[in-house]
């Protein structure tokens, strides 16, 4: 596709359920980022992939959060035993490279997760 695609667009989960959020980056993009955006806040970095390698996961808030990108394209963010504080919009972004600071990040429309 022409842009970054995320699915589902909305997800409602009961507390304690596991969820999986999908990101399809732009074809050929090396870098992939996940961000968490709480209501009324700016996006906060979660994790970064360069191809299939997860090079930075310093932003993951707990060990209930897990991300993968096994073939260097599609990525999945998994949240186990969801809690109400996990309610947020999860944004995915991809970039052609990671060595050029002005290499633009292309964002998806995000997945809005609501934990009840």
């Amino acid at each position: 596709g022409a842009g970054v695609s995320q699915s589902p667009r909305y997800k409602v989960a009961k507390r304690g359920q596991d969820v999986a959020l999908r990101c399809d980056p732009i074809s050929g993009h090396v870098s992939l980022f996940w961000y968490q955006q709480a209501l009324g806040q700016g996006p906060e970095f979660l994790t970064y992939f360069q191809n299939e390698a997860q090079l930075d996961k310093s932003g993951l808030p707990s060990d209930r959060f897990f991300a993968e990108r096994p073939e260097g394209s599609v990525s999945t963010l998994k949240i186990q035993r969801t809690q109400q504080e996990d309610s947020a919009v999860y944004l995915c972004a991809s970039s052609p490279t990671n060595r050029d600071l002005d290499s633009p990040l292309h964002f998806g429309n995000g997945t809005r997760l609501t934990v009840t």
Partner: protein, 116 residues
């Protein structure tokens, strides 16, 4: 580490008028980029304008321009001839190399309302 501060949670401007959104930042990086992103209700982050820290000349993109004061670590966005379609959340962000990732660090955003 990088921090970005936006001190104006909400701003309002009349159509065709000019508005300035404020942003200050702090970074230990010697080379970095600064960005303004627009986030409409669709949630997709749209790049408005970017500025390389080494360039003294302020960036401009049509009706959008920045006032980059490197010594003061200030990066404000000026929108001229405001249009109804400019109504959105605006995020200031910085990007520099941190370890293995050149991740974006966002401010908390300014909600801009353009009125008739």
């Amino acid at each position: 580490a990088q921090t970005v501060t936006q001190s104006q949670p909400e701003m309002s401007v009349q159509e065709a008028e000019t508005v300035t959104l404020s942003c200050t930042y702090d970074t230990s990086e010697s080379n970095y980029y600064l960005f303004w992103y627009k986030q409409p209700p669709s949630r997709q982050m749209i790049l408005v304008i970017r500025q390389e820290a080494y360039k003294q000349q302020n960036a401009t993109e049509n009706r959008f321009s920045v006032n980059f004061q490197k010594a003061a670590k200030s990066f404000s966005l000026k929108i001229s001839d405001s249009q109804l379609g400019d109504t959105a959340m605006y995020f200031c962000a910085s990007r520099g190399y941190t370890g293995t990732a050149s991740k974006l660090t966002f401010g908390t955003g300014t909600r801009l309302q353009v009125t008739l």
